[in-house]
Structure formats: structure tokens, C-alpha cells
Amino acid sequence: MRSLSVFLVENHEDTVRYMQLYLEQLGYQVSVAADMGTALREIPNSHCDVLISDIGLPDGDGWQLMEKLGSHRPRFAIAMSGYGSSNDQRKSRAAGYDHHLVKPFIPGALLALLSEAEKSKET
């Protein structure tokens, strides 16, 4: 079992299902939410290490989510979006995300970032 606990916010059913299964298969503890409201309610009690959030959510966006989380922000956060302009990436960084992954991406790209999160947790 890996030490990292991941909170995944994504409203595309198939994507969230397979991402969760894959990460669990690799030993991560995964919690999921399909919208910002649910994420805001559940993240503070989840004590997750990493937040992986889609930027386009049905009731807001991933940038607002980070802002509203305030002190409950996990210490490592990864944004996912179909849009990857320099402006989008800048907004993600300004909101507090460590990385901005442009969809679609290969599973290996996410794993590389999770390894980075694991290393930063150890240090």
C-alpha cells in the first residue's frame, strides 16, 4: 500500500471511474467527488495528500475550488484541463496548483507527478 491519499474531483463518469480503479490498483487511497460542492464538503475531513481536480466542474471550476478550500488545501495539487494555454497554466499556478495537466494525458504522466508528491511528502 502506498502512503499517498488522493482526492479526485472529476465529473466525467468513465474517466473518474477508471482513474480511481487504476490508482487504487497501484496502491493509492482514492476518494472522489463529481462537483465542487461535494469536494468542498469532503476534502477537509479526508486528510488527503494530493488533490487532482478537473478545471471545468458543473458548479464552478478547479481554480475556485482551491480558493474556497483555503487552509484545507492539500499540500500537493494537480489541475487537469482540456485547455492548456499559457494563461490557463498561469491561472492554475496562481490558484495554488503545482501542476497543470492538459487532457488527454497518458497515465504515466500522472504517475510521474504522484511520485513527485510522494518525494515531497518524505522530505
Binding site: T15, Y22, G84, V102, F105, G108
Partner: protein
């Protein structure tokens, strides 16, 4: 005349054509323009119509004359683009465009006629701007389709294949390899799409 041109420019800005510059035209043409504006209203006086037919129509190119006559005869809204000819038969170097606002009965409430010189850089700029606006709309549509459809589904498929490959490998080594190959194939498709999305993004940012 300058005052009139300024007024038209302001109206053009309101309807979203800020780049248009009105070329100075003769007072005679401005007069024809105003007459045409009044005629586009179904309530126009017969006197004005006669004045238009006798005073302006003879100076229009034959094809334009026919379309104008038909438009007025049938009292239908007029959306015309005409090339004027001078009294000595020369084709004048400007185009007349009409913008009308209609009421519920499709009667023109007001008409704005604009004279645009066909050879000015301003006119070319408008044409190019419209073309580029069309391209950008199309790019934006494709981008949205990619984001909402293909790219989201492919992302789910890439993770799904990895899950499948992991599970099958525990049951049967050979099938596990096949599933793993399938996952790599999907990863290849993801990479292809990524580079397409990236190059479209670069083009868009350069365009800005």
C-alpha cells in the same frame, strides 16, 4: 458633409464595424442615399418614389437597377449591395451597403446606407477581419468538441486499458501482454491527440 460622415461612423461603431472609414462622396450621392433610406420604409410617399426612379435609377448599373425595382415593387425589405455609376457612365469606386432594422411586420424602420471605397485598405481590413473571425469560430468549435468529447473519452479509455491490463495479467500472462499492448496503443492515440491540441494551441496564441 463631414458631419454626416461622422454620424454614420458612430452608427457603424454601434453595429460593430469600427474599422470602416467613410470616404467623402458627392453631396448628390448623399442625397440619393437619404432618399433611398426614406424609400425603404413601406410608408414612403409616392412623390419620393417617383423622384428616386427618375433621379437615381438611371445612374445605377442595369443589374442593380433591376434588383432595386423588384425590391421596391414587392415592398420587401431591402438588403442590397450596389455599384454606382457616375452620370458619364464610369463605375464609381465605392460600394453602397444598407443595414435595416425591421419591425414585426418586416417593414424597415430605419436604414443606414454606407459608402465604402472598394480599394481602400479599410475595406480590405474588414474583409480579412471577417475571414479571420470565421476561422477563429471554427477553431473554437473544434477545440470545444475535442475537449468535451474525444479527449475526455480517450483519457478514460487510457486509464481503463491500464486497469484491464493489470487485472488480466494476474489471470493469464499471455492475455496480460495483449492487454498491455492495447493500453500502449491507446497511449499512442493520446500522444497523437496531445500534439494536435498543442499545435492548435500554439497557432491560437500566435494569432492573438
Amino acid at each position: 458633409m463631414t458631419k454626416r460622415a461622422d454620424e454614420v461612423c458612430r452608427l457603424l461603431q454601434k453595429i460593430g464595424l469600427p474599422a470602416v472609414r467613410i470616404e467623402p462622396v458627392s453631396a448628390e450621392v448623399i442625397g440619393a442615399n437619404e432618399l433611398f433610406s426614406s424609400l425603404a420604409n413601406a410608408e414612403a410617399l409616392l412623390e419620393s418614389r417617383v423622384s428616386f426612379v427618375e433621379g437615381v435609377l438611371p445612374r445605377l448599373a442595369a443589374a442593380d437597377r433591376t434588383s432595386w425595382k423588384a425590391a421596391f415593387a414587392k415592398q420587401r425589405p431591402v438588403e442590397v449591395q450596389v455599384g454606382f455609376k457616375s452620370s458619364d457612365g464610369r463605375t464609381l469606386d465605392f460600394e453602397m451597403r444598407s443595414f435595416a432594422v425591421y419591425d414585426q411586420k418586416r417593414r424597415a424602420q430605419s436604414v443606414l446606407c454606407v459608402f465604402i471605397s472598394l480599394t481602400t485598405p479599410a475595406f480590405k481590413r474588414i474583409c480579412n477581419a471577417r475571414l479571420s473571425e470565421g476561422r477563429e469560430l471554427e477553431r473554437s468549435r473544434v477545440r470545444k468538441e475535442l475537449h468535451r468529447g474525444v479527449s475526455q473519452q480517450l483519457l478514460g479509455a487510457a486509464f481503463g486499458c491500464k486497469v484491464l491490463a493489470g487485472r488480466v495479467a494476474t489471470l493469464n500472462e499471455e492475455l496480460g501482454k495483449e492487454a498491455s499492448n492495447l493500453a500502449e496503443l491507446v497511449n499512442g492515440a493520446v500522444s497523437e491527440l496531445q500534439s494536435l491540441v498543442r499545435s492548435a494551441q500554439i497557432q491560437r496564441e500566435r494569432h492573438k
